[in-house]
Symmetry: C2
Subunit: 323 residues, 2 copies
C-alpha cells in the first residue's frame, strides 16, 4: 500500500501530465495557472483514499480524482468573480489577472474538462459516477447562491448557515469520497457510509476554517481577520448573533464598516464580543463533534481496520491545522 | 412517422415537464426564464431528426435533445455577460435582469443540468455520447474565446473568421446531429456523415445570420444593422476588409464609432462599401455552397431516401428565412 505522500505524488504527476491545447491562449493559460496554483488537493486525496479502502490499485480512480480537483478550481474561478476576490492562494486570482470574461469562459472549459475526465470511468460504473457528480455539482451551485443571498439578508440563523456550508463545501468533499468508494468497488451501503463520513469531515473542516480566519493559524494567502473585516456571516458571526444582546449586536453588525476604525481595532472589537459570548469554545465543540462523528462513521465501515488507517491518518492531519 | 411540427411539440412538452427545484430562487428562476424564452430549438430538432433517420421512435433521444438546448441556453447566459448584451430574443437578458453573478451561477447550473440529462442515455451508448458532447462543448468555448480575441485584433482574415464560427456555432449543431444519429443506432461512418452534414448546414446558417443582420429579414428582437453599429467583425465585414482599398478600409474601420453620424447614416455608409465590393452576392454564394454541400452529404447517406425527407425539409425551412 502507498503512503499518503506517495498518493499525493501520484496525483500531482497525473495532473501535471494532462495536456491542454495551447490555443486559444486566453482560454487555456488561466486553466494551467489555476491548476498549478497548489492547494491541498483535499478532494482528490479523499477520493483516492476512499478508493484505497476497497481496492489495492487506485489508478482506476485517478481521472475522477483529477476531475474533482478541476471542478473545485472551476468553482474558485467563478466564485472569485462573484466575490470580487483579487487574491487566491497568495497569488492574483484568474479574475484579477485576466479579467471577468476570461475567468467565466476558462471556468466553463474547466467544468467541461472535469466531465471529460469523469467519462474515463469504467463504463459499468459511469452512470453511478455521473449521478453522484451531478448531484454534488448542483449542490455546490445552490450553496454558492445561498451564500450570496445571505450577504443581503439581515438575519441568518445557525441552522441556515450550516445548510449553506453543507451544500457549498461538504457535498463536494462527500461526493468525492463516495465516487472513490464506488470506483474501488464499494457496494451501495458502503459508498453511502463514505459519503456520510465525508459530510461530517467537510463540516468540521469548514468550521475550522471559519475559526482560523478569526483566531489565527497561518496559512499562505490568508489574512487573519479577513471575515471580520468583510462583515462576513461566518459560523462565528451567526453563532454570536444568535446569542448577542442589543448592544453586542450593534457591534457585530456595524464595526466592519466603521470608517473611523483601523482594521486591527475592528478585529479586536468583534473578537471581544465573540469571546464574551463564548463563541470560540462553542465552535471548537462543534468541530470536535463533527470530527468525532466522521471517525465513528469510518470505524463502523465493514472493511478490515488496517485498510482504514491511511484515511484516518489523512483526516487527522487535515484537522491537525487546529491550534 | 411524425411531422416536424409534432416533433417540436414533443420536445417542447418534454422541456416544459423538466421540473427544477424552487429554491434557491435566484439560481433556478433565471433557468426557467431562459428555457421558456423560445428560440428556434434548432439544435434539439436536428438531434431528434437525425435520430429519426435510423429509428422509428425518437423518445430515446429526448433527454439528449433537451441537453443540447439547455447547453445552448447556458452559452447565451454567459455570452451575454461577456458581450454586455441587455436583450435576448426581444426580452431582457438574464444578465440585464438579474445581474452578472446570477447569470454566471445559473449558467453553471444549466451546464450541469445538461450533463444530468445526457447521463440518461442508454448505458451502452453513454461513453460515445459524452465524448461527442465534451468535444463539442470545449469547441464552443474555444470559438467564443476567438470571437472575443477578434474584437481587439486589427486584422481578421476570412479563414480565421470561418474557423471561429465553425467552433462557435457549427460544432454544436454538428455534435447535436451526431448524438441524435448515435442514439438512433447509426454506426461510426453514418454518425460521422451526419456530423459533416450539420457542420455545413451550421456554416450556411451562421453566414445567413450575418447577412440578415445587415440586409434585412425581420426577426424578433433583432435590430437590422446591429453588427454594423457595433463594428462587429462579421463575415461581411472580414470579406469586405479583404477586398477594400485604403479609402474603403477607413470607412469600414471607423464609421461605427463616428459620433457625428446617426445610426441610419452609419448603416448606409458601410452598406455602400459592402455593395461596391460585391459582398452581399459573395456571401449568398458562400451560403449556397455550404447548403448544397450539406444536402449532398445527406443524399449520400446509406438509409432509404424517404427517411431523409423530414431532415431535408427542416434544413430547407431553416434556410427559407433567406430573402
Amino acid at each position: 500500500m502507498q503512503t499518503n505522500e506517495q498518493l499525493l505524488d501520484l496525483l500531482e504527476n497525473y495532473l501535471a501530465q494532462r495536456e491542454l491545447p495551447t490555443e486559444p491562449e486566453r482560454l487555456y493559460d488561466p486553466i494551467r495557472y489555476s491548476l498549478a496554483g497548489g492547494g491541498k488537493r483535499l478532494r482528490p486525496m479523499l477520493l483516492l483514499l476512499s478508493c484505497g479502502l476497497f481496492a489495492d490499485d487506485v489508478d482506476v480512480a485517478l481521472p475522477a480524482a483529477a476531475a474533482v480537483e478541476i471542478f473545485h478550481n472551476f468553482t474558485l474561478l467563478h466564485d472569485d468573480i462573484m466575490d470580487n476576490a483579487a487574491v487566491r492562494r497568495g497569488k492574483p486570482s484568474v479574475y484579477a489577472r485576466w479579467g471577468g470574461n476570461v475567468a467565466i469562459l476558462s471556468g466553463d472549459a474547466m467544468l467541461i474538462s472535469a466531465y471529460r475526465l469523469l467519462a474515463q470511468a469504467p463504463p459499468a460504473l459511469l452512470p453511478r459516477i455521473l449521478e453522484v457528480f451531478n448531484t454534488m455539482a448542483l449542490g455546490v451551485c445552490e450553496g454558492q447562491q445561498y451564500d450570496m443571498d445571505f450577504e443581503s439578508k439581515q438575519k441568518v440563523s445557525v441552522v441556515e448557515y450550516m445548510s449553506m456550508i453543507e451544500l457549498k463545501t461538504s457535498v463536494l468533499v462527500a461526493g468525492s469520497a463516495m465516487m472513490g468508494a464506488i470506483l474501488g468497488g464499494a457496494d451501495e451501503e458502503q459508498s453511502r457510509r463514505l459519503y456520510q463520513f465525508a459530510i461530517e469531515l467537510g463540516m468540521a473542516f469548514q468550521l475550522q476554517d471559519d475559526l482560523l480566519d478569526s483566531y489565527g493559524g497561518e496559512e499562505l494567502g490568508k489574512t487573519i481577520g479577513g471575515d471580520i473585516l468583510e462583515g462576513k456571516k461566518s459560523y462565528l458571526m451567526v453563532t454570536a448573533m444568535s446569542r448577542a444582546d442589543e448592544e453586542q449586536r450593534e457591534v457585530l453588525r456595524h464595526t466592519y464598516k466603521d470608517a473611523a476604525l483601523a482594521p486591527a481595532e475592528k478585529i479586536a472589537r468583534v473578537r471581544a464580543v465573540f469571546d464574551a459570548l463564548d463563541v470560540p469554545r462553542l465552535t471548537e465543540q462543534q468541530i470536535s463533534l463533527r470530527f468525532d462523528r466522521a471517525l465513528a462513521t469510518l470505524d463502523g465501515l465493514n472493511v478490515p481496520d488496517a485498510r482504514k488507517e491511511p484515511l484516518r491518518e489523512y483526516a487527522r492531519s487535515l484537522m491537525g491545522r487546529r491550534k
